[in-house]
Amino acid sequence: MAMIAMASGFLLILIGLFGALSNRNILRMIVAFAVANTGVNLVLVAVGYMDGRTAPILNEAVPVAEATARIIDPVPQALVLTAIVIGVGVTALMLAYAYKLFKTKGTLDISQYTDLKW
């Protein structure tokens, strides 16, 4: 189970990088980055998963005394929660800059932006 999640996460990272590097349209690159971001999150969560255990929430099913033996690692989950939120922020920023670039040059084709090229 964890292996499937991890493999799909790595696959998503590769798909995202392929999309970001092979597309010339800035909007497509942003979508590709979001896909790669999801892949990273998936890999991180998969690292914290342990077979036969349950979510790190204490209730009747997981009493405090048995918590150590029953729950999965909560630290990667906390990390991924942070990563998702920051990912949203990064995507919003990229979209805002893409809009600004479109306003100045009238195109979203990355190969038209040669100002920093040497």
């Binding site: 493999a7 990272i13 405090v64 150590t68 809009y99 306003k103």
Partner: protein, 233 residues
């Protein structure tokens, strides 16, 4: 052609690295020491049923404050980058097509429910798999629905800014109270811990997470608003 080839080579190399990482990966049989500490001590120390929430709000509360700050910065920069366009646009340039009966009626029906659900998610963050960030995102989705159904209406940036500032200040204020009344910055034990698993428990965690929820909701809403106002209407 050579570009394609380099790209494929790069991806193949990266894929090989990933495959190597994955084949060597052995899942842990038991919790590592950090996770073990959290599993053993969260209930007794903080009284939070959701250990992830306990980590985010209290054990690593300072990092969450930083995260909220990053989000605030993002919202501010999005506003700054898109600010000029807002002044330029004054009158709608063309007639906007009506949004349709389904969308407007659906919004009227769903919006209160979405806001209620968002409030539920962020106030139950210490008990259920939810919390301030998730609840805030749900609140912002209500805002998105409103923007879709009333594309011409101008929503007040001021209200959003006020909610965001008050929530942020309250978050920091509760954190400072922790220094004065309990063990340190953002300590949740300024309020009684209560019984594990009840709504009013876990000290200040529900309070802090509610403020985080409001703040995140306001920030996401302002981002959506700024992005939607770039649209030439």
């Amino acid at each position: 052609m050579i570009k394609r080839f380099t790209l494929m080579l790069l991806l193949a190399g990266l894929g090989a690295i990933f495959a190597g990482l994955m084949l060597d990966y052995v899942p842990d049989a038991e919790l590592n020491r950090t996770a073990d500490y959290y599993a053993k001590n969260t209930a007794a120390d903080l009284g939070a049923a959701n250990i992830v929430t306990a980590i985010i709000v209290t054990y690593r509360g300072l990092d969450t404050l930083g995260e909220v700050t990053v989000l605030f910065l993002t919202a501010a920069i999005v506003g700054l980058v898109l600010a000029r366009e807002k002044h330029e646009q004054s009158q709608p340039k063309r007639e906007h097509p009506p949004t349709g009966e389904l969308l407007t009626t659906g919004t009227r029906l769903l919006l209160p429910l979405i806001l209620l659900f968002g409030a539920y998610v962020f106030s139950h963050g210490h008990l259920t798999p939810g919390g301030g960030f998730q609840g805030g995102a749900i609140l912002a989705s209500g805002m998105l629905l409103m923007l879709l159904s009333h594309p011409l209406r101008r929503f007040g940036h001021r209200t959003i800014a006020v909610v965001e500032s008050i929530a942020g200040l309250a978050f920091v204020f509760i954190g400072v109270l922790g220094i004065a009344l309990a063990g340190g910055f953002l300590d949740n034990r300024i309020l009684p811990i209560g019984t594990l698993g009840e709504l009013v428990s876990a000290g200040a965690i529900p309070l802090i997470y509610s403020f985080v929820g409001l703040k995140v909701g306001a920030e996401f809403s302002s981002m959506l608003l700024n992005l939607s106002e770039t649209e030439e209407l």
